[in-house]
Symmetry: C2
Subunit: 271 residues, 2 copies
């Protein structure tokens, strides 16, 4: 249980102070922070709360959108924004910044992928100087158009391996990679580049590509199997339960957190 991390999105109704206090109350040692929630109280106050409650940060979510366009199609300077996210991660005391690299710009997939590679090359030195590692998170192929032209773990590794392992790695999120026939080989290949492991189950049918997710145990993902692969590859860090689910979000934070803990215990942690 000391590896469980509450990804803050799973208790979306909670503010940052509530989530940090809630983790401490429930004995959860780690939290995965979201920048919008941090921004509501500020980085300094977040650091104070984390220290007061003795909760550690497993990752900061997120930098990215390096193709220059938001999911809604608006222009964005993802590189500049990711520099700010790197600074925030360093200030918050986590060395893992999750990157959602962004969807297709100008209807050109190949050029968009190249743009991401170029941007990571530009950001890597900045991150290294601040002791922050960039965690490339491949997203499910259904999000290729609007959120991430990185679609598989192998593809993320191809990009990460252009940089030192202490600067650029990958985040393994079950929702995004469980279906991949190559996922086990890719996890083994990732080795020390695994910067995070997120657990979640898909819901079917995908009536909504963001929200069709469930707590571990309600779907087809072999959580223990993937966990054992990730561990065999060398990852021993925190495991984030990260669930986008409207029903879960409608619950009071402490109820949602109890469900997070219970599903983690039963479906992820137990042998």
């Amino acid at each position: 249980m000391n590896r469980l991390s509450l990804n803050q999105i799973s208790t979306k109704s909670w503010s940052l102070p509530e989530a940090v206090a809630g983790c401490a109350e429930a004995g959860v040692e780690w939290i995965g922070l979201w920048r919008d929630k941090v921004a509501e109280v500020g980085v300094a106050e977040t650091v104070r709360l984390l220290k007061r409650y003795g909760v550690k940060v497993s990752s900061l979510c997120r930098g990215g959108f390096l193709t220059g366009v938001t999911p809604e199609g608006e222009p964005v300077d993802g590189v500049a924004d990711t520099r700010r996210a790197i600074d925030e991660a360093a200030a918050l005391g986590t060395d893992v910044l999750v990157l959602v690299v962004g969807g297709i710009a100008d209807n050109d997939l190949a050029a968009s992928r190249q743009r991401v590679a170029d941007a990571v090359g530009e950001l890597a030195p900045y991150a290294r100087e601040r002791g922050v590692r960039l965690g490339l998170e491949p997203l499910h192929p259904m999000q290729c158009v609007d959120r991430s032209v990185l679609s598989t773990l192998a593809q993320a590794l191809d990009l990460a391996e252009e940089h030192p392992a202490e600067v650029v790695g990958v985040v393994v999120d079950e929702f995004h990679v469980w279906w991949d026939p190559e996922v086990e080989a890719s996890i083994a290949r990732a080795g020390e580049r695994i910067l995070g492991f997120h657990v979640c189950d898909p819901l079917v049918p995908f009536t909504d590509p963001l929200l069709a997710r469930a707590l571990p145990g309600e779907g087809p993902v072999d959580h223990r199997g993937l966990r054992s692969r990730v561990e065999a590859a060398g990852y021993r860090g925190p495991i984030e339960v990260e669930v986008f689910n409207a029903e879960l979000w409608s619950l009071p934070g402490e109820v949602a957190l109890r469900k997070v803990i219970e599903s983690y215990r039963r479906h992820v942690a137990e042998p």
Copy 2:
């Protein structure tokens, strides 16, 4: 234009006789048939109509569900059903039967994939005896749970290559594979095993995994690029325009077919 094939699903409102006559009327030489539409008039009458109108069959859709469960979760004997589909394909004068292999049974992805491999092994001799080739169609990973545990072209090829190329091949459907960072390498690898090429664009967001598709030209797929890859691999057969789209389906068949022809001409066929 002589390679254009109307996949019958694109003119869903049309019965089989209407679709065959409509193709002839519009100068479309090929049609991709669906078994439910064929069943409404019977195989013999379909053969008669095809001959009368001089329309050729590019493929029959579909056999499969070899994991033993329908998309709705009902039990099904997919092997027996696929044997019937093989017979129908032979009778209809097409040597390509599209297989949608089926989703996850018993919440066990690895076992489901093995079940598919076993079933294809069982069906291959039956197909060969009847001169029908089995076209394994990998479906988009968002359909892994309920429709197809074959999720990438590379994975479909791994399975196909256990059998002679004249018996088991693959169907390249843009909607399902366009996002795949390995798609170009896989198409080159597929070579003579390419039994069909289906064109379509994805719609975003995926509010419905079946219907979030559009005619070529409305989305991010590089149709000419993929067509040139498929041709470089050696495929010179018909190209099916296969679009699941509620708006298209609401149109009179002849209007839908005109849109199919126009989008094919502008976005797929022209250099």
